[in-house]
Symmetry: C2
Subunit: 271 residues, 2 copies
C-alpha cells in the first residue's frame, strides 16, 4: 500500500514534516510518498495545490494525507476543500492554548525559525567553533567550549559537534584519541585542564570496523584488531579518569546530542 502525504506550510515546514514522519513511522507496512510544499502563502499556490491533491485522489483512488501549518485562515479554509485527510497542526492546539493563556495568538507566520540577531550570531558562532576545533585543532579555544567530546576516530564526534552547534547553539569541540593517548593513564595534555567539560563517545568495535572499512578498506586503521584495541583503551581511559561517556553504536546524531545535553546538564543557547 502506498499513500501520498503532503506537507504544506507557510514557512519551512520542517516541524510539520517531523511530526508527520514520526506519526507515520508507526505504520510500517504502508509506503508513504512525501510531497513538501514549503513557503505556501498565496491563494494561487493553494489553488494549485488543491488541484494537485484532486488529481492524485482521482489517480490513486484513495485520498492523500495532508499535514499543514498555515497561519492565514483564508488559505487554510481553501486547502480544506481538497479531498484529503487533513491534519491541521496549527489549529489543533491553538484554541486550547488561547483559553489557557487568556490571549489570542498573534497569527504571525513562521516565528519559530525566524532569524533574530542574537540567535543568528550564536548559531553561526557555534558552527564556526565546531569547525575551528574539529579533530583536535584549535585547543587554545577549549576554555570557551561548552563541551569537549573525546573518543576514537569515527565514533561520531564531528557530526555531533555540528549538530550541537546548529540545534542548540552550543560550542562543542572534539579531540580524537589516538595511539599516544593510550600509553598514559591520564587525559591527553591538550584537554587535561578541562575535565569537567569532557564527554566521551564510545562505539562497538565491530561497528567501528564497518564504518572505517567504508572509509579506508583493508587498512590497518580499519582492521578489526585495531578497532578492538582502540575502543578497549578508550573505555579504560574514560573509566579510570572518571568521565561520562555514551555508546553511539546504535544511536542517531540526534540521540547522541540529546543524551550529551541531558547527561552533562547543558543549556540550550538558542530559542
Amino acid at each position: 500500500m502506498e499513500r501520498t502525504v503532503f506537507i504544506v506550510s507557510d514557512h519551512t515546514g520542517l516541524t510539520a514534516e517531523s511530526v508527520a514522519r514520526s506519526l507515520l513511522a508507526q505504520f510500517e507496512t504502508v509506503r508513504f510518498r512525501y510531497v513538501t510544499r514549503p513557503f505556501t502563502d498565496t491563494e494561487e499556490e493553494v489553488y494549485g495545490l488543491v488541484y494537485e491533491i484532486n488529481s492524485i485522489f482521482e489517480r490513486e483512488q484513495v485520498r492523500p494525507i495532508v499535514f499543514s501549518t498555515l497561519a492565514n485562515p483564508v488559505l487554510n479554509d481553501q486547502l480544506k476543500t481538497a479531498p484529503a485527510l487533513h491534519f491541521d497542526l496549527f489549529r489543533t492546539y491553538l484554541g486550547e492554548l488561547e483559553r489557557e493563556l487568556g490571549q489570542p495568538p498573534t497569527g504571525r507566520v513562521g516565528r519559530l525559525h525566524s532569524v533574530s540577531d542574537n540567535s543568528y550570531f550564536t548559531r553561526i558562532d557555534a558552527v564556526d567553533f565546531a569547525l575551528a576545533t574539529d579533530d583536535g585543532l584549535g585547543d587554545r579555544h577549549y576554555q570557551m567550549a561548552d563541551v569537549i567530546l573525546i573518543g576514537v576516530s569515527r565514533a561520531g564526534k564531528t557530526p555531533t559537534c555540528l549538530f550541537l552547534g546548529l540545534q542548540y547553539g552550543l560550542r562543542a569541540a572534539n579531540y580524537p584519541l589516538a595511539e599516544d593517548d593510550f600509553e598514559r593513564d591520564t587525559l591527553p595534555e591538550p584537554v587535561k585542564a578541562y575535565k569537567d567539560k569532557i564527554f566521551g563517545l564510545t562505539i562497538n568495535p565491530a561497528r567501528l570496523h564497518q564504518i572505517r572499512t567504508q572509509r579506508k578498506p583493508n587498512s590497518q586503521y580499519a582492521s578489526m584488531e585495531q578497532c578492538e584495541y582502540e575502543v578497549r583503551r578508550a573505555e579504560l581511559l574514560f573509566k579510570r579518569v572518571g568521565i561520562q561517556y555514551f555508546d553511539t553504536t546504535s544511536a542517531s546524531i540526534e540521540e547522541i546530542a540529546t543524551n550529551i545535553v541531558q547527561s552533562a546538564g547543558l543549556k540550550r543557547k538558542i530559542g
Copy 2:
C-alpha cells in the same frame, strides 16, 4: 507572565519541542520556561516528573503546560495525573490515522530518529562531504555534489551546507566568490562545469558589514565599501550567468536550506 513548559518524550523529544516552540511563539507576551525530559521511559521517571509538576503548580499557582510523546500508554496515563495542561502529541492524531490506514500503530518508541544503516552512512557521508569541500576546498569532488553554493564570504554558505547534509543527507559543497572571480564575466574556473548544480547566496551589504565586523573589526574585509562592492559584483555575476540565487539577509539557516531544496528541486536522501 511566566509559564513553565515540560517537553516529555521517550525519545529525543526534538519534534515535541519544535511543535511546542512553534505554537507558543504565537503568544508573545508570555515568557515560557522550558524543561526538557528526553528518554523518559520508566515509571520511576514519570513518578518523579509528576512530583516535579505538582511542586511547580503549588509554587507558581498556575498549572504547567506539558507536551508529550510517550508510546507506552501506562506511562502516559501516569503522566496525565499531574496538574497540567497536557498536549499528547502522540495520541491526538494516531486514532484517526489508524482508522484511515486500517491498521494499528506499532507502538514502537522513537522510530523517527532511530539509526538505520543506510541513513546513517548517507548523513555522515554528506557531513564529511561538506567539510571536505568547504570554502572552495576539494573541487575534485564537485562532480559528486548535489548542490554547490557560491557567494561572498559570510553570506551563509558553510552552515547551510552542513544543515543540508545533516537534515537532508544532501552533498553540498561551497565555493567563495573573491576578488579574482569578479574580474570575469563567467563562473569561476573550478565550478564552471557544474552550472546546473550551482545555487547563489547573496546578502544585504549592511548586514554583511555587520557580520564581518563581528569577525574582523575595522578590517578592509569588513568595510562597508568592500561589502557593497562584493555583493554588487556577485549579484551581477548571478544574473549574467543566469543562476538562481537567494537573499539570506533575514533568513535562518532552515529557511535558506529549505528554499534551496525547493528551488533547485532537490530530493531528501534520508527518511
